[in-house]
């Protein structure tokens, strides 16, 4: 009896219907390696690119858009090389992270310029794009006088004016106020739902999980994790964490802590006169620790996570 062929397990780093493919890409700038043998792909919908500062997110986005050539591997957008086939730029747009905007142009002139480069015949297109990002009323103000958030939104308008089906957004929420943030997230989700490939980078997990169905995590130019944001969140929650605790009964507290399931180790830090607790379940520890201290009549003087920065969590992911 023939068995049915095994169903290939889908690698979450790769989209099922890719428009952008990154295959074994390495990019270096002199001695600095920005991307190292990275392979992943992006398809319709919103994909998040997550990683600490210096992880290679911006370099990957520049490689995807052709701004930076790759030293090894290939990047394809709609199966075209963005460095060689300039026609691909008619279907793709980038919102760069840099605050730089052209000097001396109003928002309307800037968006009009981008529309002209794309030979957009619709004279209303720049105004429609400005309305989309809620900048229509200030369209006659010079872009270089705008705040950071307004500049980002102007660049989003410039990116949208050509109606691209691949949209690469490098930290597009930088500088935006909470209301604008919510509006932009809704906009990106809508664009993704329309079947466009939207790649959004951020170093804030909460931000990415609000808009992206799929997340790719980069650390030190390498792929650290990929998948749904829940999987990424779980992976992060499962990384060992260290918490420093100073109390008026260190030894008694240490003895009580070792009995907790959430604690995997306790060491005494003589320099700081406290305990360093290692845990795989930080949330459980956060609940159990005050109860434990109260029960043993121990006063907690200081409780501080030692490695709670996103960078340290990312680092744990690639260990």
């Amino acid at each position: 009896m023939l068995l049915p062929p095994p169903v290939p397990r889908h690698d979450p780093a790769f989209a099922t219907d890719p428009t952008v493919t990154v295959d074994g890409v390495s990019v270096w700038f002199g001695p600095k390696v920005a991307l190292s043998e990275l392979s992943c792909s992006f398809g319709p919908g919103v994909s998040g690119l997550l990683g600490p500062n210096g992880a290679g997110k911006t370099t990957l986005m520049r490689a995807i858009t052709g701004l930076v050539g790759v030293n090894e591997g290939t990047v394809r957008v709609h199966q075209l090389d963005p460095r060689r086939d300039r026609g691909v730029h008619a279907r793709m747009a980038l919102v760069p992270e840099d605050e730089a905007v052209p000097a001396g142009l109003t928002a309307r002139q800037f968006v009009r310029y981008v529309a002209d480069l794309h030979r957009i015949a619709d004279r209303e297109a720049p105004d429609v794009a400005l309305r989309t990002v809620d900048l229509f009323d200030v369209g006659d103000r010079q872009v270089d006088t705008f705040s950071k958030g307004m500049r980002q939104r102007t660049k989003v308008a410039a990116a949208l004016v050509s109606g691209p089906d691949v949209l690469v957004l490098d930290e597009p929420l930088n500088g935006a106020d909470p209301v604008q943030r919510a509006a932009l997230i809704a906009l990106f989700k809508r664009l993704g739902a329309e079947g466009r490939t939207v790649v959004v980078s951020s170093h804030v997990l909460n931000e990415v999980e609000r808009m992206a169905e799929r997340v790719i995590v980069l650390v030190h130019g390498r792929l650290a994790a990929a998948g749904g944001h829940r999987a990424i969140r779980d992976a992060m929650d499962e990384t060992p964490r260290h918490v420093f605790v100073r109390s008026d009964g260190g030894r008694r507290l240490a003895a009580s802590l070792v009995g907790l399931e959430s604690v995997t180790g306790v060491t005494f830090d003589s320099k700081r006169d406290g305990l360093v607790i290692q845990t795989l379940q930080a949330r459980e520890l956060a609940v159990a620790l005050p109860r434990l201290a109260k029960g043993a009549s121990i006063r907690l003087l200081e409780v501080r996570p030692l490695d709670d920065s996103l960078e340290s969590l990312f680092r744990e992911l690639v260990r």
Partner: protein, 256 residues
């Protein structure tokens, strides 16, 4: 009763070169850049005044001053600022992305930037050179000075755009080109002087004068129309080089 005309929302798209040209004029020359261009142009007028200090006749005195001061100093420096403004400064600022990330062919980007920069050179450097002739009391030299400065600055802008496509340190390499390659090597080697906007614009100027000082006539360098053709070839080669390089540029951001 006439039909209610609806406002047309579509129109023939603006040609890309025109859009790039308009952008170049609007965005690449903020007030500080204009000051940096006009300052050396004002220097040209000072060189015109300096010609009065010479005992030689006004025409000969101006010819001597123009050869060294205007074509050797004012024109390259002002053209350097213009050439850097239209490309190098945008690369460094990270704003060239907005143009580069479009389906516009690179030759159109280069051409638009060059026309934009060259036109600024023609309306600033060339009139300054002509005015300097008038200030020097040699109005008959004004046309020759205008033409030579216009041709020289057009060629220079093309060269500085090419340098802007090759390196982020446009100003440093452009200065090295002017003072080390043109002034130093060009003074010694005719082969280099033949391709140098400084030497060729000087040759255009000298070739158009009725009775130029003999020390300004350099053997082996075409004068007048020949020099103009030479400069056109130099500009064309520089633009072709810029176009080729633009395909291979690594456009990092302002923070890189």
């Amino acid at each position: 009763m006439s039909a209610n005309p609806s406002t047309p929302t579509t129109a023939r798209p603006t040609p890309r070169v025109i859009a790039i040209l308009r952008y170049t004029w609007r965005s690449c020359f903020p007030p500080k850049r204009w000051a940096a261009i006009l300052l050396p142009c004002a220097g040209a007028l000072l060189f015109g005044l300096l010609a009065h200090a010479s005992d030689a006749g006004a025409d000969r005195a101006f010819a001597n001053v123009a050869a060294e001061g205007i074509f050797g100093l004012v024109m390259p420096i002002a053209a350097l600022v213009i050439g850097d403004s239209v490309l190098g400064a945008e690369v460094r600022a990270g704003t060239l992305h907005f143009t580069w990330l479009s389906p516009a062919p690179t030759w159109q980007i280069v051409l638009g930037r060059w026309i934009g920069g060259a036109s600024v050179g023609v309306v600033t450097i060339a009139p300054a050179a002509a005015l300097a002739a008038i200030v020097a009391g040699s109005p008959s030299s004004a046309w020759a000075a205008f033409l030579a400065a216009a041709v020289g600055s057009i060629a220079y802008v093309a060269i500085f755009i090419a340098i802007g496509c090759m390196t982020r340190r446009t100003a440093v390499w452009s200065l090295a080109f002017v003072f080390l390659i043109e002034r130093l090597l060009g003074a010694a080697l005719t082969g280099i002087a033949q391709l140098s906007p400084t030497w060729e614009s000087r040759a255009i100027f000298v070739g158009l004068l009725d009775n130029p000082p003999s020390r300004l006539v350099r053997d082996g360098i075409p004068e007048g129309g020949g020099a103009i053709v030479r400069m056109a070839i130099v500009a064309a080669v520089a633009l072709a080089l810029a176009n080729w390089r633009m395909h291979h540029m690594r456009l990092a951001g302002a923070s890189d």
